[in-house]
């Protein structure tokens, strides 16, 4: 079995070397949408080929086709010039393609060794010694260090990603697909991944790196293909990229993606609309953690009316638990929450809502709505039993329907009607309904958890505008996000959470890169930097 070291000495020509994948005129349709539209590309070994596009541009579908999860409706794939059909994940793996998906495809209760051998025939035994030996090589060549007997679910997300990369290398894959691999990493972690990708391609692999972040495409890619609404909008080869600066490249990419100049989507800094009065106070808040969920400790902050307080941090460091504790959904073991001077620590979710504290969850379909219920019912889900929609416990369907229609109009929700089950709507439209629901009545503080996650760029823009408008109107906004650009564009101050604690609260002073690096270090738990919390 050739190991990675041997690969280094193989002399591979770009066009005919093992691992050239050709995509020829591939089209894939889903009900109501053309996800991939007549795309033709070639992936060469020795290159990091970036597939760039906003959410909904067709990247994930293309990945699905390359990974064997879907088959194209038109067009075909080729491996090393030969036409191939990848009808299942096994076929894809056998063709030498390994895919690391955006959401971890590891079994959390199995050990690292078991996850590395997943998919092997059931009658065999895991070849422990062989794998241990190869892991030593991989450690040497690619800095992949993994404890074989640890339970996968207990490792960090970065380590889990390394397991998936190691698995690809153990299979001697020729092509490694990384789908949105940096979404769970700190800026430093992303840098490490970039370096690792370069090592991998130098050893002869082809790496396909999918992202929607423009800067990453330039920094880590040798070749960039831009996808727009399912079609190939343009390609930038290695020579072209080498000849440009980062800014020039970003401009060109933006032009390809949106046909306009970068200025329109720049991460412009928003003017602060913060007022004098403090609208939300959190003092020493703490919640209980357990095996699955982080507990938070010693959370103290103050939010002014009209202010946007951004919350940065890697996913899973207590941000969601903080939001739930503030909303009343999670029991609190210590501390106080005060809304406009009133202590609401003991208040229920419904009571807090009525007093003006609203919470827009990131989990739109699993938590925020009931997919099978019509939009109309979803708009009043948090007000069940309340007049005017219910009188003496009896439903007033007409009032609910009218309320829903008003909301649909006001927030431009694309839907056949208010009786459509909300699960049928696109992510962006569901978000609009939820936003409309949280803003109805007298809202004073809105807690947003990853509000633009998974939306296409138009909706992201609109959502950010709305958030800014809400703050302008005098509401306090608590904005949790994993998108640092978004936080830096919108926030007055940025709070960084790591390990369930606040690592620091910094003013968004427009110092760009320097600020970004500081925040990145805090996200990794390195710097304890506490400023005045007022």
């Amino acid at each position: 079995m050739p190991n990675a070291a041997e690969n280094l000495t193989e002399n591979l020509l770009p066009e005919t070397g093992a691992g050239t994948i050709g995509v020829h005129g591939v089209t894939k349709r889903f009900p109501g949408v053309i996800a991939v539209n007549n795309v033709s590309l070639t992936f060469h070994p020795g290159e990091v080929h970036v597939l760039l596009g906003e959410n909904g541009a067709g990247k994930s579908t293309l990945v699905g086709i390359l990974a064997g999860l879907q088959e194209p409706d038109e067009g075909y794939l080729s491996i090393n010039g030969e036409r191939t059909r990848l009808s299942s994940p096994s076929a894809s793996l056998e063709a030498g393609i390994s895919t690391v998906f955006q959401h971890s495809m590891l079994v959390p209760t199995l050990t690292v060794l078991e996850n590395l051998t997943l998919g092997a025939p059931w009658y065999e035994r895991p070849p422990r010694d062989r794998i241990a030996a190869r892991m030593e090589e991989l450690k040497r060549d690619f800095a992949l260090s993994l404890p074989l007997d640890a339970i996968t679910g207990e490792l960090s997300l970065g380590q889990q990603q390394q397991i998936e990369i190691a698995r690809a290398l153990l299979r001697d894959s020729k092509v490694l697909i990384l789908d949105e691999a940096t979404s769970m990493l700190t800026p430093q972690g992303a840098q490490e991944l970039g370096t690792r990708m370069q090592k991998l391609v130098k050893s002869g692999l082809a790496v396909i790196f999918i992202t929607h972040k423009l800067a990453e495409a330039y920094r880590y890619g040798d070749r960039i293909s831009v996808l727009k609404q399912g079609a190939l909008a343009g390609e930038m080869g290695p020579e072209e990229l080498k000849s440009m600066t980062e800014d020039q490249a970003v401009d060109e990419i933006v032009r390809l993606m949106f046909g306009r100049e970068a200025g329109a989507t720049s991460t412009e800094h928003r003017e602060s609309t913060a007022r004098e009065e403090t609208v939300l106070n959190v003092d020493g808040l703490a919640t209980q953690g357990d095996a699955d969920v982080m507990g938070i400790e010693d959370i103290t902050l103050a939010l002014k009316a009209g202010e946007i307080l951004g919350v940065a941090g890697i996913d899973g460091n207590g941000q969601k638990q903080l939001a739930e504790a503030m909303a009343g959904q999670r029991p609190v073991t210590a501390g106080r929450v005060t809304l406009a001077g009133e202590d609401i620590t003991k208040a229920t979710v419904a009571q807090r809502r009525r007093k003006g504290l609203r919470y827009l969850t990131d989990d739109r379909l699993e938590e925020g709505s009931v997919a099978a219920f019509p939009i109309s019912e979803n708009t009043v889900l948090k007000d069940i039993g309340q007049p005017p929609f219910w009188v003496n416990g009896l439903e007033r369907p007409h009032r609910i329907a009218q309320h829903a229609r008003d909301l649909i109009a006001k927030f431009s929700v694309h839907t056949p009607g208010e009786t459509t089950p909300i699960g049928r709507l696109s992510g962006g439209n569901i978000q609009k309904v939820l936003l409309g629901r949280e803003l109805s009545g007298d809202a004073r503080v809105v807690v947003f958890n990853k509000p633009t996650y998974g939306l296409d760029l138009q909706n992201i823009d609109k959502s950010r505008q709305r958030i800014a408008e809400i703050a302008e109107r005098g509401l306090g906004v608590f904005l949790i996000s994993t998108d640092l650009d978004e936080l830096m564009a919108l926030s007055d101050r940025i709070l960084v959470m790591e390990g369930g604690r606040i690592r620091g609260i910094v003013d968004n002073d427009g110092t760009g890169e320097a600020l970004r690096l500081r925040i990145g270090r805090m996200m990794a738990g390195e710097e304890e930097h506490k400023q005045a919390t007022e």
């Binding site: 959904q329 938590e367 709505s369 997919a371 889900l381 948090k382 069940i384 439903e395």
Partner: protein
Amino acid sequence: MSMEEDMMSGSADTEARAADSATPTAERSAFQRILTVTVGPIIAAFILSAIVLMLVGVNPLTYYGYILERSLFSGLGLQQTATRMAPLLFLCASLIIAFRAGIWNLGTDGQFLLGAVASAATAPLLVGVLPGWAVLLVGFVLAALVGAVWSIIPALLKAYQGVNEIITTLMMSFLGVLLASTLVKLVFRDPSTTVPQTRTLPVADRLPRLFDTSISSGLIWGLIAVVAVHLMMTRTAFGLRLRMVGANPSAATHAGLSVPLLTMATFALSAGLAGVSGASEILGVAGNVRANWDPAYGLMVIPLVFLARFDGYGAIVLVFFYSALMIGSESAARRLGVPQDFTLLLVASLLICLGLGEYIDHRKRRKER
């Protein structure tokens, strides 16, 4: 493990049947869909069971014909069918609440029997002490309480410990059936007869008959129960809360509902209605509980409720036909020598054919979209 109104487990596209009927798909008419999903499976099930009948040497046409004639086309049969509907309707009400709230209450048999024993033990003793209507009322209320109490352990385990209720309710059911028999034999035994049974409630003190017929008025109460449950689930705030817990417990918590309390309420209501079902059989028809009596209506009603997609009115129609089937097959057991257990087979094949029909419909709908 969520409860879907159809049998496609966790299907990828979330379809709500109500909305579908409002906006029918263009290419396949509503008629075609009903054919695939309701009528087709029923016919297929009857054919499948007919094959088994032929295998054991019984002419299916004779059998089906006899059943129809005996239960629907004769005056007496029709009345018996109507009377039999009462306990089944209460059970439908019980299961509609449970299933719509996402709770698998498989313990209705035990709750039914204990409710029956509770009413059978107390009613005869209260005759003469209380006015007639009060005797019956006490009997029903007690049955409801006993049924509800019998579900407390599974309810608590589910609500606060997350223990799967399928197993706990099943075990309590077995326990309940045995307990009921023990109570009849040892505690509530009628001293005046040799046959082990409870004291008999005189016919005059049972639920009155309707007009001139022999149909028990329990039928009316059963109908009221199903309709009331249906309206509650679809038109009230409480019903919406229960449905939310059934459809998406995380969303329910997010919306500020107390899932554990609502779970307890669901168990109490569902088990209580099952107890009332038992009482209706005693106070309306039988008058006493014999030892080792277990008609096991509970599990049989489950397929009917699924067939009706948890809709109250649909359930009433199906219960009517199922009662006819039961009355007919009971008689056929004596006359034609085909044991009544055949109905088990028929209902089971109905369930399976329904599942297949759902699947075919599901596939066709995805191709269209």
